[in-house]
């Protein structure tokens, strides 16, 4: 399987070359990708938890304004 490309503008030769990532670059790429996916998961989990909490409040007949009024929001 081919690796992602990296494009390089070399100012010494003023040439723009594209090539597949080398081992070190690919390792960094995978690490960056994993970090991003982890952040996305956490973000989605937080949004889901917020929506669930809001639904619970509404089931109790409360709103976010009610929480703010109590100094909790």
């Amino acid at each position: 399987m081919s690796r992602p490309l990296i494009v390089e503008h070399n100012l010494e030769t003023n040439e723009i070359d594209e090539r597949e990532m080398n081992d070190a670059e690919y390792a960094t790429y995978l690490k960056d990708k994993a970090n991003f996916e982890s952040l996305q998961e956490k973000k989605e989990e937080a949004e889901a938890a917020k929506a669930a909490a809001k639904a619970k409040l509404e089931a109790l007949g409360l709103s976010l304004n009610d929480l703010k009024a109590l100094g909790l929001g």
């Binding site: 992602p4 990296i6 494009v7 390089e8 503008h9 670059e25 960094t28 790429y29 960056d32």
Partner: protein, 244 residues
């Protein structure tokens, strides 16, 4: 003997004998040749001439070195290196749309600061664009984020923040960064700011400023731009300037 008005070349008098015509033409031709050479002393590609203290005699000025500017010294023009306040474009082009990772390498150390500009830079998804120096992806960076709300937050990590998430279809965004004293053997400061179309409401602008830093102490010779999501760039241009 008659002479011409401007350069005083000798020409035959009206009463001169026809038999002396060849010598007269030779004398005139020689005078023209000498004058022309005095006015045009160039010998080499790039030479220019300027008027000397002697009438009808120019002085040859050989081309200067790359990056030199024409200035004045002692009342005559000379080529010299700029002494300050100059921008030199070192690189420009389009961001690659077949990659998420773009590097400018072999950056000359001949300048004081580096200035980076991205215009209309976008990614196939609403995405952040980050920056690394010298290919270093270690924990050698920190970023302090200043937002319009007055909030500032700092993070330490493996990258510098350059451009925040932008609408993937609207190309009005602009981002710049300056790397101060990039050849110095000290920690580096990368000051950046961006103004891009808001990802959720593209008609609205989203602007932020970053104070990035790095504990890299080597001279900076390469700058790497990449997208946080690892999705490819979809549009945009880059420019790199050397600042003196």
């Amino acid at each position: 003997m008659a002479t011409t008005t401007n350069y005083g070349w000798t020409t035959p008098d009206d009463t001169a004998l026809v038999k002396d015509g060849a010598a007269a033409i030779r004398t005139l031709g020689s005078s023209i040749d000498t004058t022309t050479k005095n006015l045009n002393p160039s010998t080499t590609l790039g030479d220019i001439e300027y008027r000397s203290a002697t009438a009808n005699t120019n002085t040859r000025l050989a081309i200067g070195s790359t990056g030199n500017v024409l200035t004045v010294s002692g009342g005559v023009p000379v080529w010299s290196a700029p002494t300050g306040g100059s921008f030199t474009e070192l690189a420009s082009g389009s961001l690659p749309t077949n990659a998420n990772n773009f590097t400018i390498s072999s950056i000359s150390g001949a300048y004081t600061d580096l200035r980076i500009e991205l215009s209309g830079a976008r990614v196939t998804t609403d995405d952040n664009i980050y920056l690394r120096l010298n290919g270093n992806s270690g924990s050698v960076y920190f970023a302090t984020d200043f937002e319009g709300s007055g909030v500032a937050d700092s993070t330490a990590g493996t990258t510098c923040r350059l451009q925040g998430s932008t609408d993937s279809a609207t190309g009005n965004g602009f981002t710049y960064a300056i790397i101060l004293d990039y050849t110095g053997s000290h920690w580096k400061i990368i000051r950046s700011a961006f103004m891009v179309p808001n990802a959720s409401t593209p008609a609205n602008a989203r602007g932020q400023s970053y104070l990035n830093g790095s504990t890299i102490t080597d001279a900076i010779t390469s700058i790497n731009f990449y997208t946080e999501s690892t999705n490819n760039f979809s549009a945009g241009t880059y420019k790199l300037y050397g600042v003196k």
